[in-house]
């Protein structure tokens, strides 16, 4: 034993060679590489700052020009211009969430706790297919297929449930209304809410579930007692991420709605408020001068709103670090 220690001691390099082994040449490689990596990370922060900065610079003319001058040129003051569209954005997203959230939670539970194990990942892939469809195709489908198909339902709602403020008014004859846009939005945000909820449901401690089952709970009671309480924060933040998607989604709304600058609760008429994103998409290609600045200012407003919603969702979700919208 003593001999072994001695021999090791002989082999063990003294501090001096260690220093020389880290020759300057090697250190340069390490330093360059870590600088590159850190630099890339910083570039991302710079890009985000640039997004905010350049939008602000281009939006300023629309925000600072005096209301009288804007009025004279036919654009209207910025805040009164954007208010109907901000309302339309919120209102369309609200209906989309109302339809998408219960369905997505149901699907997520179905895949995580009801479907046979062998099928589960395949079923998840089918739902992910919905997320892969480009938004412009959803828009085309919404306006050419969904709107005419759903129009009888709208007329029925308008006639029989017209006493509810949402369904009142003169129903649109073409089905091009806010509800159609919201249905398309709901289909588009469904996969993201589903996949995030599924991840959270699968993280429920198995011991909790088995304890509930061992006490004689049915499967539904087990879900209510162990899965849903555990997943509450995850559900809230996935709904907020879905909301962020819905607020910023452009093409589906831009193709379905013709849009009018009105603030109304009615969702079946042909006079529906447009969303901010859609009004930018519809007007930007032909815009010039101050109009461009006004639309960019609208984009800045949308950026700030979605930033707040997404940051809130991320803060709630930070306790589940493993997943995000990008995977």
């Amino acid at each position: 034993m003593a001999i072994v220690t001695q021999s090791t001691r002989e082999v063990t390099p003294t501090p001096a060679p260690v220093q020389s082994a880290r020759s300057p040449r090697r250190r340069i490689g390490d330093r360059v590489f870590s600088a590159l990596a850190t630099g890339s990370g910083i570039i991302i922060l710079v890009i985000l700052a640039m997004v905010a900065g350049f939008l602000l610079m281009q939006a300023l003319p629309a925000l600072t020009t005096s209301p009288a001058e804007l009025e004279a040129k036919g654009y209207g003051p910025f805040w009164s211009w954007i208010l109907p569209f901000a309302w339309g954005t919120v209102w369309a997203s609200f209906w989309a969430l109302l339809m998408a959230v219960p369905v997505s939670i149901g699907i997520a539970l179905f895949i995580s706790h009801y479907a046979p194990r062998r099928l589960a990942s395949g079923l998840g892939y089918v739902i992910d297919l919905l997320a892969a469809v480009p938004s412009v195709v959803f828009g085309l489908w919404g306006i050419i297929v969904l709107a005419p198909a759903a129009n009888p339902l709208y007329l029925w709602l308008n006639v029989h449930l017209g006493w509810i403020p949402f369904f009142s008014g003169q129903a649109s004859g073409t089905g091009r209304n806010l509800l159609t846009a919201s249905i398309v939005l709901a289909v588009m945000i469904l996969p993201i809410i589903t996949s995030l909820c599924r991840e959270v449901f699968l993280q429920t401690p198995v011991l909790h579930e088995e304890a509930a089952l061992a006490l004689g709970a049915t499967r539904w009671e087990m879900i209510r007692m162990s899965v849903l309480p555990f997943a509450r924060a995850g559900i809230v933040s996935s709904v907020m991420l879905g909301l962020g998607r819905a607020l910023g989604e452009t093409m589906a709304v831009a193709m379905v709605l013709s849009g009018a600058p009105v603030i109304t609760l009615e969702i079946l008429t042909s006079q529906n408020p447009n969303t901010i994103a859609a009004v930018i998409a519809q007007n930007f290609p032909e815009a010039y001068g101050l109009k461009t600045n006004q639309l960019i200012a609208g984009g800045l407003a949308l950026f700030v709103i979605t930033l707040l919603v997404n940051s809130g969702a991320r803060l709630i979700m930070s306790r589940y670090k493993e997943f995000s919208g990008a995977n």
């Binding site: 360059v32 590489f33 870590s34 990596a37 850190t38 630099g39 890339s40 990370g41 570039i43 991302i44 890009i47 640039m50 997004v51 350049f54 939008l55 281009q58 149901g106 699907i107 895949i111 009801y114 297919l129 919905l130 892969a132 469809v133 480009p134 938004s135 412009v136 195709v137 828009g139 085309l140 489908w141 306006i143 297929v145 969904l146 499967r219 539904w220 009671e221 962020g244 910023g248 452009t250 093409m251 831009a254 994103a277 930018i280 998409a281 930007f284 290609p285 461009t292 960019i296 984009g299 950026f303 979605t306 930033l307 997404n310 969702a313 991320r314 995000s324 919208g325 990008a326 995977n327």
Partner: protein, 353 residues
């Protein structure tokens, strides 16, 4: 409940519905729905029948189970039916969308579509070759910008990142995934307007908008893969005296290469269908333009929108081209998805997960 259980012979299955009962109830409900539909709602059609059948089935299965098995089992069956129903409900738009796209897109999914541009085309004929070129060029440039930045950021986060900067980058990468695509387009437009003067619209601006959207996707996908590379591999490499940067290049990256490649392909599939940012930053044109640094450049999603939104007098030709473009897009996205998933599965390292 107790009276029924008393009459059963087998105590184990007593008080339970036989396993075929829900299916029988479902079939009966759909048939009833069909009868109600043809009598009361003006003629038989499949969607209404299925809808009515589902509406009838829910109370039927609840009451049936409640009578035989009790309240708690009834709630359980109702929940099961609702969740399976939610899944089927979500399949409805998917199937309808794929069916309509393929059936409407096939008539113009032909040679002319892939060899003609829209230059001087009014009415029939014409194609999307200019848009295909544009999509390939713009997506290619966006990938060239986004992959190095995304990959190096992921390496920073996994191998170097500690403290406030790493936390900030992680947080803002997450926030970046939520940027509305149209805002990315406005950013590229604003950047070009400030640097080259207002109204500068070209392929490179479009590529910049797309790379803003693509970077966070690449970072998240890559970061996740680098984290599952076993630490033993890194330590073995350090023990041999290999410096850190060569360890990353020669050990960490090759181990996770298949996953990174598939992540990049999936990221491309995600951005290739983006419409709004390209409308704003890359513009519209009917001609082939292969120079990304001057003049507007058409892309496939914008082509679809343009054909639908700005039709000529004979609307049907424009709609046909829009559907054919949509079908091309879906085929592209699906093929990219399949390749990505295939690579991830086929070449995955054995030690992973």
């Amino acid at each position: 409940m107790s009276t029924l259980t008393a009459t059963r012979a087998n105590p184990l299955t007593a008080g339970q519905l036989p396993s075929f009962a829900p299916w029988v109830a479902l079939a009966a409900s759909v048939v009833t729905g069909g009868i109600v539909d043809s009598l009361g709602f003006g003629g038989f059609d499949l969607p209404t029948t299925v809808f009515l059948g589902a509406v009838i089935f829910l109370p039927v299965i609840y009451l049936l189970t409640r009578m035989v098995e009790g309240r708690r089992a009834a709630a359980d069956r109702l929940a099961t039916a609702l969740m399976a129903g939610a899944f089927l409900l979500a399949l409805l738009p998917l199937v309808s969308l794929l069916w309509e796209t393929v059936s409407n897109g096939l008539p113009r999914f032909d040679g002319t579509f892939f060899s003609w541009s829209m230059r001087n085309v009014i009415g029939a004929g014409g194609g999307a070759i200019h848009a295909l070129y544009g999509t390939l060029i713009i997506t290619g440039i966006a990938t060239l910008i986004a992959v190095p930045i995304g990959l190096m950021t992921a390496i920073y986060l996994v191998e170097y990142g500690r403290g406030a900067l790493a936390n900030a980058i992680t947080f803002f990468v997450d926030v970046m995934t939520g940027i509305p695509s149209i805002v990315a387009g406005l950013f590229a437009y604003a950047l070009m307007a400030i640097v080259f003067g207002p109204g500068t619209v070209n392929g490179f601006a479009g590529a910049m908008a797309l790379s803003v959207l693509m970077i966070p996707i690449v970072v998240r996908a890559t970061e996740e893969l680098l984290r599952i590379v076993p630490n033993e591999l890194r330590e073995a490499s350090y023990a041999l005296g290999v410096p850190k940067w060569r360890t990353i290049l020669a050990v960490v990256l090759p181990t996770s290469l298949s996953g990174i490649v598939s992540g990049v392909i999936l990221a491309i599939a995600r951005i290739i269908g983006e419409t709004a940012p390209l409308m704003i930053a890359a513009g519209f044109t009917n001609s082939i333009n292969t120079n990304p640094f001057a003049n507007p450049m058409m892309t496939l999603p914008v082509f679809v929108y343009d054909q639908y939104a700005h039709p000529g007098i004979e609307r049907e030709f424009y709609n046909e081209r829009a559907w054919a473009g949509a079908m091309t897009l879906i085929v592209l996205v699906m093929v990219l998805n399949l390749i990505g998933r295939f690579i991830a599965k086929r070449f995955a390292p054995k030690s992973g997960r």
